[in-house]
Symmetry: C2
Subunit: 103 residues, 2 copies
C-alpha cells in the first residue's frame, strides 16, 4: 500500500467505455497529474497527449504499444511508458488496477 | 465537479465482488475518511461499521436500507444515510459513481 499526501482529488470519476474503464484524477503538490483507475475485462484503445507512465497496481494488462508488433503483458508491480501524442491498445483478461502518471 | 484539497489518497483500489465494485480511500485533513467508488451493474450487499453518507455522483443506485420494506432509487445529486453496524442492499442498473463518507 502506498499513498499520495497533500493531494487534490476530483470527486467525480472519469468514465470511459460505458464505465468499463473508470479513473479518479489526482493533482499533486508539485503540479503533476495522475489518474488512479480500474479497467474491467475488455479490449480498449486510448490516445495520449502527454507521455504516460502506466503502473499496474493489481491484475494484469496486455498492451500493444505504438510502433510495436508484439503484445506485452504487465503484471502488478510492473510498469510501461506510452509516448506522447500516440495511441495504445489494451486487453484486460479479468481486471486491472493502475496508476497513470502524465509526464 | 468538486474536489478534496490537502487530502491523502491510497493508490491501490479497494476491490469487491470480483471488481464489479471498486473504490479509492481518501483521508481528509480533519481526519475523516471517504471512499470514492464505482459500481458496475449488479446486485450487492454491504455491511457498515460506521454510519455512512452515500452520495450518488453519476448514474443511479436502487437501495434497500435496513428496516425498510421498499427499495428507493437515488440519482446523481441525491444521497442517503446508512446506519452504523447494519447492512444494505443495492441494485445497479448500469453504473453508479459515488462518494461514501464515514461518519
Amino acid at each position: 500500500m502506498s499513498e499520495f499526501a497533500n493531494a487534490t482529488i476530483v470527486r467525480e470519476a472519469n468514465i470511459y467505455f460505458d464505465g468499463k474503464v473508470t479513473s479518479r484524477t489526482v493533482l499533486l503538490e508539485d503540479g503533476t497529474k495522475k489518474t488512479l483507475g480500474v479497467m474491467q475485462a475488455g479490449d480498449y484503445e486510448f490516445n495520449t497527449d502527454a507521455k504516460e507512465l502506466m503502473e499496474v497496481l493489481a491484475g494484469e494488462m496486455t498492451v500493444l504499444l505504438p510502433g510495436e508488433d508484439d503484445w506485452q503483458t504487465y503484471a502488478a508491480g510492473q510498469s510501461y511508458y506510452v509516448p506522447a501524442n500516440s495511441s495504445f491498445k489494451l486487453k484486460i483478461d479479468k481486471i486491472a488496477d493502475y496508476c497513470c502518471s502524465y509526464l
